[in-house]
Each structure stands twice: as structure tokens, then as C-alpha cells.
Amino acid sequence: MLYDALIGPFTEFEFMRRALAAVIALALAGAPIGVFLMLRRMSLVGDAMAHAILPGAAVGFLLSGLNLFAMTAGGLVAGFAVAILAGVVARSTGLKEDASLATFYLASLALGVTIVSIKGTNIDLLHVLFGNILAMDDQTLLVVAFNATVTLLVLAVIYRPLVIESVDPLFLRTVSRAGGPAHLAFLALVVINLVNGFQALGTLLAVGLMILPAGIARFWSRDLTAMICIAVTAAAVSGYAGLVLSFQTRVPSGPAIILVATVLYIVSVLFGRVGGIVRQLFPGRHLEA
């Protein structure tokens, strides 16, 4: 009975296996990115970037229909353009990164909506906005896995400068020029993972599988490595449980995954070891030193 509910769907249906593989790949790559977004106080930047991707994906969609390759390529181009332009403007002028990004993503979003409304009245567009992880073909799955692999490799390369830049950017600037490139590479990774996520979760929810696990991790550890591991686990568990939930009920898969993550988040806020509400209300007797 329990087997039928929890494991049965995956042994029985290939699309469920594909979806599970995809969501695990997304968790492995997206959650660490989310942790850094959160620690660098850029949580909403991910959201902004998700909007920035829209015109690229829309152009890809209009040129070749619901071809995920074309939409991915378009999304990457648009996302990179916005991320890099915003990064360059912020670094070469005094403008804060968020202000600079807001400008570019709004422009990009307006462009996207324009493109869509000129030529589209399509139901398939719902697909772009909310994704469909259950409709993954082999090709798409390979793209997702490839992007996840690239993300982990690049993250390994820029890990040290990225950490130092987050804690003490001025220090990194005085000892190395790696800060700027590391930051731009990080923004690129954000874009790659958003595009990766929107095939499964849609442009609007893609950022959810990055930020929510990061938020969960913050309540369980004070150590960066542990936080990343917890975030990845939380994302994978949300993905699996969301798929099961979606299979057993009529909830669409994308929202189901994010809703499960939300439940985990609420539990963490309440019972988390680090700064959870219950912990704060009943902290126990104070220590000796």
C-alpha cells in the first residue's frame, strides 16, 4: 500500500522517473545557488532574473514553437544580457546592483510581453509560465542534467572568491581581481539554473526551488557547507514529495513541488535549531559561559 503510493508511480511510469531525475538534477545545482543568493541578500534578484528571461524564451517559442532547445537558448541569451549589463553598469557606476538590475529586468519583461502579445494567443504559453515537469523528453532531461553539471563545476571554480566576496568584498578587491569575474560567473549560473528550472516549473516558479531550500537551510545550520547540503536535500525531498503529491491528487506538478517546499519552510521557521521561533520562545536555561 505504502509502496504503491510512494514508489509505485516511479517503477510504473517512465515520465515519473524522468521527472524525478530532472528534479534531483535541479536540486543539486539550484539549491547551492539559492544559498549564495540568500547569503548575498539577492533572493529577489533571482525573481527579477526569472522575469528577465521571458523575452528570450518568447522569441524562441515564436520562432520554433514549443521547442525547449530554442526556448532555452533564447532564455539564456536574454538572461545573460540582462545579468551582465546590470552587473557591468553597477560595477562601473555608483549605482547599486539591485537598482541597476530592476531597470534592466523591467525593460526585458516589457519586451517579452510585447513579443508575446504581438504574435501569441497561445495556450502553450501557460506551459512557459508554469512549466510541465511531467512532459520531459530525453533530450530535455539531458539538457537539464548538462546544465546542472556545468553549474556544479563552475561553482567549484569560483567557490573561494565567491565566499570571500560575500563576506568582505573590499578585502578581495585588495588581494585579487577574481571578485568581478566570480560575481559575473555567479550571475550567469543564476540564469542557467532559472532557464533549467522553467522547463520543469515555469518561469514564475523556477526560482522557488532555489530560494525556498536556502531559506530552510538557514534555520538548521550556521555552517556554509552544511547549509548547502541541507538545501540540496530539502530541494530533492520537496521535488520527490511534490511529484508523489501531484501524481496522487490533481495538483499540477510545479506548484506541488513548491508547496511541499513551503511546508518544509514553515516547519523550519517554527522548529529550526538556529533561530527557529519555538527555539526562541523556549531557549532553555542560559549557559555558564
Binding site: L39, V157, I164, V167, D168, L170, T174, V175
Partner: protein
């Protein structure tokens, strides 16, 4: 050869000078205090030296030093203390010059980090997140990192602000140790007594240099008065500076 050479340096923001027409040099191994009222351009000058602010005019020669040979301790407000990083890891970033992007932290490096943490009196704090430290402890951590940077030019921006006497004594001992090892040390300071007792050379700054030389000769009431009266006015519609007329400006 001088460790540092200023040629008619003007540093500032948005064309407005904060340090105006500074010339002079710092000998290798010198122990220099930079003093002056708030807004005199002390921090700006130090930022210019470490290369994070480009001069509006003139040049700063580092006497062949690479950016990596400089250790810079800014005012600590710019550090994100909420980031989850331990004292050990944070101090360890001081080894960047040797490790770079990928270099491993081996046994020798670990010992070095532990010794540096011990040298600033924080043994036992290695695994504490930096967010849990007091202001004085954080300053000790920053000194430990400077210690690890093993730099031949050390630039300290108001390193003893809001620090208790005991910590100041400990950290000053480190500064003297660096001086003894032949490193060049520049520090922006406010405590005249400390400057008089511990620093051999002093630059009194009030946008332009008011006086520069051996501390005993420079640290006179007259010079300090001149510096205090420094025109703090920021003129939005100031004309482009034409002359090198520093003396009239200071007086």
C-alpha cells in the same frame, strides 16, 4: 628606494578632491601615523595607496610592490558579519596570496592560521562564526588576517576605534612587531598620545598636507590647530583647480 612615492596626488570622489596635491615619500620600514580631523582625507589617502581608489590627478608609486604585497585593514563596517564563516576560515583568507583560487590549506598553513589566531589572543575561538564576536574580538581577527598576509606594506584605517585599552595594547604590540620586522606601516589614527608614544613619523592631513616628518617635530599644537581649521566646505560649484596653491588653502 622609497616604499611609497606620492607625486602631486589628488584623490577624491566625483571630481571633488578629498586629498589635495600631496607630494612626498615614505621610506621602507617606516612607521607612519596619518592624523587629521574627520573629513581630512585620511581614509581616502589609504584607499588610494591600496589601489581601490584611482587618483584624480598625480601618481602614487608603490616602489615595485605588487597589490598582493599590501595588507589593508579598512574600517570594519564593510564586512558582512552575518555570513556563516568561522574565525578560522576568515583568518585563513589572509593566505590568499599563497593559495589563490585552488591552493589547498595543508598542515603547515593550518598551523600558521592557528598561530595567527593565537598571536591576537583568540585561541579557542577558531570555530566560532564571526557574527558572534564582539567589536574588539573582530578587530583582533582582522589583525590576525593582516598577520597572515605577510605583507611588506601594511595599511591600517583607524584600527583602534571603539576598542578597549587592553586590546589596544595587544594590537599595538603587533604593530611594533611588524615595524621591527622591517615592514612599512601606515595607520590613520586619532589618539595623539598613542601617535606620540609609538609612531616615529607623522603626516598631519587636512585635505592638503599640513606637516609631515618626525612625530616630535610635526605634532605641535600649531599644526593641529591649522588642521582643525581646515576648510571642510564642500563647494558644489567649485571651479576646476588650477593652481598648486596648497599653503594658502591650509592657512
Amino acid at each position: 628606494m622609497a616604499a611609497l612615492h606620492f607625486h602631486n596626488v589628488t584623490l577624491g570622489y566625483d571630481r571633488h578632491p578629498a586629498v589635495h596635491h600631496l607630494s612626498g615619500e615614505v621610506a621602507p620600514g617606516a612607521l607612519v601615523a596619518v592624523i587629521g580631523p574627520n573629513g581630512a582625507g585620511k581614509s581616502t589617502l589609504l584607499r588610494g595607496i591600496v589601489g581601490i581608489l584611482k587618483p584624480l590627478d598625480g601618481t602614487i608609486h608603490l616602489g615595485g610592490l605588487d597589490a598582493r604585497d599590501i595588507a589593508y585593514l579598512p574600517q570594519s563596517a564593510e564586512i558582512d558579519r552575518s555570513f556563516p564563516i568561522s574565525v578560522f576560515d576568515f583568518v585563513g583568507t589572509g593566505l590568499w596570496r599563497g593559495t589563490g583560487l585552488f591552493g589547498g590549506i595543508g598542515k603547515a598553513a593550518r598551523d600558521k592560521i592557528l598561530r595567527a589566531i593565537g598571536a591576537v589572543g583568540l585561541s579557542g575561538f577558531e570555530n566560532r562564526p564571526i557574527g558572534t564576536l564582539s567589536g574588539g574580538q573582530m578587530q583582533r581577527v582582522l589583525f590576525a588576517r593582516v598577520l597572515l598576509q605577510d605583507a611588506s606594506l601594511i595599511v591600517l584605517d583607524e584600527p583602534f576605534n571603539a576598542i578597549d585599552a587592553k586590546t589596544i595594547t595587544d594590537l599595538l604590540a603587533l604593530v611594533r612587531r611588524w615595524h621591527g620586522e622591517g615592514r612599512t606601516v601606515l595607520a590613520a589614527l586619532h589618539d595623539m598620545e598613542m601617535v606620540r608614544n609609538h609612531f616615529t613619523e607623522t603626516l598631519v592631513l587636512a585635505r592638503g598636507p599640513v606637516a609631515w616628518g618626525p612625530t616630535a617635530e610635526v605634532l605641535t599644537p600649531e599644526n593641529l590647530l591649522v588642521a582643525m581649521r581646515m576648510c571642510e566646505a564642500f563647494d558644489d560649484s567649485a571651479a576646476a583647480c588650477a593652481a598648486d596653491d596648497i599653503s594658502s588653502r591650509a592657512a
